[in-house]
Symmetry: C2
Subunit: 191 residues, 2 copies
DNA sequence: CGCGACGTTGATTTGCCTCAACGATTGTGG
DNA sequence: CCACAATCGTTGAGGCAAATCAACGTCGCG
């Protein structure tokens, strides 16, 4: 149980068998079918989610009424609405599974308790967040320096195989252009 | 000395006078003139920088040879190249002061030592990074959902006053368009 | 089988870029 | 302290990349 998470934590900090069990009693496990919602705009976000297997996406509804994918998360990444997590404010984002997905749920208040019992986890999350932040900055950089087509080519070479796991309209949205345009890019150079 | 930083830390975690002095002996202070470089592509990034007063920007040189501003940081924010900080890899980014700026420098290796002496700082940085990450995600969202002109209007209403502190060409670059276009936006609706 | 979701393709439009020339402002050295 | 250069901002003409809109093909699923 939770083995993938333990392994991930051990990449960053030591974790004893005893600590594993403290952690285990504060976690829960959840299985999501494809396209199932984990969080919907208007709700309060209570937990941090670790992906064991599968893929989540975070999206918002734009004023013009279409879904704008803001983030993807795959195996060994955490996802949540960090803007409101730990507060009682409602979220404006939606989190949904892209494919059948298995996650570990760490409730925000339990997380605080776990930190008191396993102080090294504070370090683990600091390191995880530093990586995530660095990745977000890199993404901002790519959005700024590359044109649409270049972004697609860069993304597909950086994450080969991932392309086949997600519908094209979600990828187009994430990369900041239209599905029609993505279709035209592929028609051009896939040959 | 370092009072602004102590105050900022105390927004998140307790900090005793004794811990202040442990911290102090591992920090240094630096004053930068406008446009001075703190980090240049090709160097190794050794430290994390806390802004006491002033403004830094992080930028890269694009293939076409122009400066692409990726981030700004102002009072009470930390800035560094988190992609390489703590490693011996060279950086590809530049960090430069926008105006006369005063910073606190926390060396990466000393930071590790300080964490062993003041474990609560691990928590402080976790919380700071969580906020920074949340802000970076919000920014990605704005880049995706808004058109160029809307981004400018949103930015200038979200950070009134900041506009006057930075040259327009840096702001245009940060927002993802050309200085000429920014000039045209302003001409349109400032009247 | 038929419907809805997804992807493709083409015609047209448009928002923003590029390029170029011209002001305004700053700062620096004689 | 002025002159000049360099930097920064403005304005306009023209071009192009990507959006929009619309129609059609295809696949999976109830």
């Amino acid at each position: 149980m939770y083995q993938e998470l333990y392994d991930h934590i051990r990449r960053y900090v030591p974790l004893s068998a005893e600590e594993e069990s403290v952690l285990a009693s504060n976690l829960s496990h959840r299985v999501l079918k494809k396209k199932e919602h984990l969080l919907t705009a208007g709700q309060v976000c209570h937990a941090n989610y670790f992906i064991v297997k599968g893929c989540l996406r975070l999206y918002i509804m734009t004023e013009s009424g279409h879904e704008q994918t803001v983030q993807f998360a795959i195996e060994n990444w955490w996802m949540s609405d960090y803007n409101t997590l730990g507060t009682s404010r409602i979220t404006h984002v939606n989190i949904q599974s892209v494919e059948n997905t298995e996650i570990v749920v760490l409730d925000a208040t339990l997380q605080e308790y776990v930190f008191t019992r396993i102080p090294q986890l504070e370090r683990y999350f600091r390191l995880v967040l530093q990586r995530a932040y660095a990745a977000a900055i890199m993404r901002a950089q790519y959005m700024l320096e590359m044109r649409e087509e270049e972004r697609y080519r860069h993304f597909s070479s950086a994450f080969p195989g991932f392309i086949q796991r997600i519908p094209q309209y979600m990828l187009a949205s994430y990369l900041g252009f239209t599905p029609e345009f993505l279709s035209k890019i592929r028609a051009k150079k896939d040959a």
